[in-house]
Symmetry: C2
Subunit: 341 residues, 2 copies
Amino acid sequence: MSEKKRITLKDIAKNLGISVSTASRALNSYSGISDDTIKLVKDYAAKHNYVPNTMAVNFRKNKTLTLGLIVPELVHYFFSSAISGALAEAKKRGYTVLVSQTDELLSNEVYAARTMIASSVDGILISLSNQTINGEHLNELLEEGRPVVQFDKVLEELPTPKVIVDDFQGAYNAVTHLIEQGYRSIAHLNGFSTVKNSAERLRGYKQALTDSGLEIREDFIIHCKDISEEEGFEFTRQLMQLPNPPDSIFCITDLVAMGSMKFLKETGKKIPDDVGLIGFSNWNMANFVTPALSSVDQHAFKMGEKACQILIDLLKSGKIGKDETHIIPTELVVRDSSRRY
Amino acid sequence: MSEKKRITLKDIAKNLGISVSTASRALNSYSGISDDTIKLVKDYAAKHNYVPNTMAVNFRKNKTLTLGLIVPELVHYFFSSAISGALAEAKKRGYTVLVSQTDELLSNEVYAARTMIASSVDGILISLSNQTINGEHLNELLEEGRPVVQFDKVLEELPTPKVIVDDFQGAYNAVTHLIEQGYRSIAHLNGFSTVKNSAERLRGYKQALTDSGLEIREDFIIHCKDISEEEGFEFTRQLMQLPNPPDSIFCITDLVAMGSMKFLKETGKKIPDDVGLIGFSNWNMANFVTPALSSVDQHAFKMGEKACQILIDLLKSGKIGKDETHIIPTELVVRDSSRRY
DNA sequence: TTGAAAGCGCTACCAT
DNA sequence: ATGGTAGCGCTTTCAA
């Protein structure tokens, strides 16, 4: 362990025969310092490879220029894209990001929040776990004046800025598209009804049917529990065994749609001719399967970027953040799985 | 901004009529403190919601319990899995992780390293960008006695612990498998020859051919530049236009294999009958395409976990880390795209 | 077993 | 324009 010691402000001051405060002000280019001194100090610092001790600065300023980012699941196209967007924005504005994942477990979320608090992040970006039904663990942050911004999976009651996707519109557009393609009995593999995203997509699904004068059949709506490929497979089986099976399926997620597609293919159904299929998320894999899967793109990158931007703006302005909701529009990406004409 | 102030050690000491040092020692359960005092202080702290000021502790101890993690690309099945593994290990051992991505750009990598240094991470986990051909930007860390552990994309010359996948063996097994399935003219879409992983896979490819007495044809080896689906498509086209086209293709990556598969399907080639196909990485999508893609699994999660474990062990022991290489075995996952019998 | 006090590196306030 | 200095909250050495 060679521990080459960094030089400190004191060293600079001593060797330059000036005071520590002057050195500090010069390096930070404060007003009231002669250009000569500034140049002198900066040159010396550069030459001797001076790196300010961030821990000392943080300690002194009670700021870390570090953000906390908590997501349910990292190995997930949507979240990794959102993180990517948040990191990009953070980098642009000089912040670093502490990342944590909860595996959809509330206990992990609480732990992550505590850890972030302990790490003295300036603020937090969070997408809640499916289990989270109150935000006690985030109040501690808020009480200390550290802003929190929720994105994607949010809790309505928590009075923080929120960035969400327009799930209702996305679902509405997807189902309307199916109807336009001539499908008439459209099933929906939904998620937890307690999770707002699921509820909104369901609402969009129903509204689209209603607006087109189609009947809402409760036996066409199935709620997934873990939103997995397996469930997509299994529930599609159930759907197709109905006396009057659907002619198309709108899936809560591309992953579920994968399972659905698998079942349909295995049982010899032609997609999109016999059964139309559309997902939600627009995973990269949607392009690679055959037929390519139509999907609703959530602009995950932009979402992470936006959430991060809001958080940093808050930080810069010293405000804690209003309870306001920013809605990112979705984009319907039509591919072969739902294109009949 | 309500800023409910935290209580400090000083507050505790004053209110309990003891000294700050006693309070500190009691909270940390140092030896040489009476059980009564410990209980007294801990109870008081718990009751008043005492949270130590981490910035002060970090500053004082010159440790942050924070790790830096730098990867080329976050939205990538392999890397998000590896990060996931690293985060899990870090969490288990009480560390938090600062994440940064370089988009395969050296300039970003240098910047990320600087940022991490500035953020005073205790150590760094890094997977290098394709552009990185020397490790100057990491030397600063090492010189300060902060350990660095490289994983996956590593630079041989940098004297740090390395965790890599057995690219040679993985490629060797993949190609041998193709041979066992009766394929005789096997092409290889490789990557940069300057990147070690690519070079090793190429070596494995060649060795497998040689060991089976098959000829190595240079026109069957094509180097991708950005390892994209498009390249997979285009280079497969080139391969199939050869006078004696290959009967199977071993792709450097599943993504490249996707492009390859697309071209083969579009031109009416049957997989695996006419052409066998095998990838590397075992993306989740490999399961979803038709035919399902055979691939070499890199155990990304385990890799991240292992790298992180090594780093933390180093940190705990106060050592800087030897130049040693840990090789994670690969696992051949055979699916339909290469199964002839 | 406990207390007093130095001091980590930096910033910012108060002088000059 | 510059210097002196207090002090952020904590740990740790030295004394008692």
